[in-house]
């Protein structure tokens, strides 16, 4: 049985290949915020607290359009709605964790982390091992995002658009998700979610992705319960 320190390192190691996609994405988002006129201080605060590529870009867009504060917050909350689903999934695995962990650790939750830890949390492990793995992966990803995002804000104007940095995150997610495609329920989920997201892409504030994912989960759940 691995100790929690070993699991922490294992989580950090599991996240390392993901950083190949996350760092360019952080650079691109930081550059995007800078281009939208968001100063360095609020930009860094958004990376630390909002902590999500799409949500941060929507925040910059709303601010750039001069939207009122409450409307800006509502837009960010809508775009971040998927975090609720990740929270439900993670919460089921950490019911018996300490109060401090259950209040602070979720602040690290983002899609790449959820995708990476999903397979590990499905295997038998003690609470200490699970928390070690979660924190190892989560802190590694959070620190890398902050550094890449700050670099993007400072150096964004010199990064050529032809580098297609916007493609890094989705391509990275494809590679992370590939090992999960192991049965018909997951394939059904993925195909239905992808089709749903494209059909519903006209929904405002990027909600097509949230709605598409719900379609996929509903379709896959039918296979699970059958």
């Amino acid at each position: 049985m691995l100790t929690s320190h070993q699991e922490f390192r294992a989580g950090a190691r599991a996240m390392t290949p993901v950083l190949v996609g996350i760092v360019p994405t952080g650079l691109a988002v930081g550059a995007g915020l800078g281009a939208a006129g968001v100063p360095f201080g609020p930009g860094v605060l958004s990376a630390a607290t909002v902590y999500g590529a799409t949500s941060q870009l929507m925040l910059a867009d709303a601010v750039g359009r001069g939207a009122p504060v409450l409307l800006t917050v509502a837009v960010v909350a809508l775009v971040s709605a998927r975090l609720v689903f990740y929270g439900v999934g993670v919460g089921r695995k950490f019911c018996e964790a300490s109060t401090a962990f259950r209040w602070l650790a979720p602040l690290l939750i983002v899609q790449p982390l959820h995708a990476v830890i999903d397979a590990r949390l499905a295997r038998p492990a003690s609470l200490a091992e699970r928390t070690g793995y979660f924190l190892g992966g989560g802190i590694t990803l959070w620190v890398a995002w902050q550094l890449a995002h700050a670099a993007g804000m400072l150096l964004g104007s010199v990064v050529p658009p032809a580098l297609a940095l916007d493609a890094a995150l989705p391509l990275c997610l494809v590679a992370i998700a590939a090992p999960a495609l192991r049965d018909r329920a997951v394939w059904t989920t993925v195909l239905a979610a992808g089709a749903g997201a494209v059909v519903l892409c006209g929904l405002p504030y990027g909600l097509g992705a949230v709605a598409g994912a719900c379609v996929g989960i509903a379709a896959g759940a039918q296979m699970v319960t059958r």
């Binding site: 290949p17 996609g21 605060l45 958004s46 630390a48 607290t49 902590y51 999500g52 925040l59 504060v69 800006t72 960010v76 909350a77 971040s80 709605a81 975090l83 609720v84 990740y86 929270g87 439900v88 999934g89 919460g91 089921r92 950490f94 109060t99 259950r102 209040w103 979720p106 602040l107 899609q111 959820h114 999903d118 032809a162 297609a164 916007d166 493609a167 890094a168 989705p170 391509l171 990275c172 997610l173 494809v174 590679a175 999960a180 997951v186 989920t189 993925v190 979610a193 992808g194 997201a197 494209v198 892409c201 992705a209 598409g212 994912a213 719900c214 996929g216 896959g220 759940a221 699970v224």
Partner: protein, 101 residues
């Protein structure tokens, strides 16, 4: 001032969305069917985000460099499970086709 306020409140909203079902898991009931379906959440959101980027990058359905990159990169991901290799192949296709179109 309003920018700082907007960012701070957005951060609080994001934190609340992340924390509510983890911190309140013992008190907030989750439907029974969710136990079986919870493993589908990550693949579902991944597929939705990726498909939106690939097939509707400008807010409407279209076939362009992003779709071609996904179609080329997906077999690489399934076969190698390598993030760097998948990224390299997908980015190469994206950059090349964007340069041509």
């Amino acid at each position: 001032m309003s920018l700082w306020l907007a960012v701070a409140l957005s951060g609080l909203a994001s934190a609340a969305l992340r924390v509510v079902f983890v911190a309140g898991n013992r008190r907030i009931p989750v439907p029974q069917w969710f136990d079986g379906a919870s493993r589908l959440i990550a693949p579902a959101f991944t597929a939705a985000v990726v498909a939106g980027w690939a097939f509707a990058p400008h807010g409407h359905a279209t076939l362009g460099p992003e779709a071609a990159a996904l179609l080329v990169a997906t077999p690489v991901a399934l076969r190698t499970r390598s993030v760097p290799l998948t990224l390299a192949v997908g980015l190469a296709v994206t950059i090349a086709l964007r340069a041509l179109t």
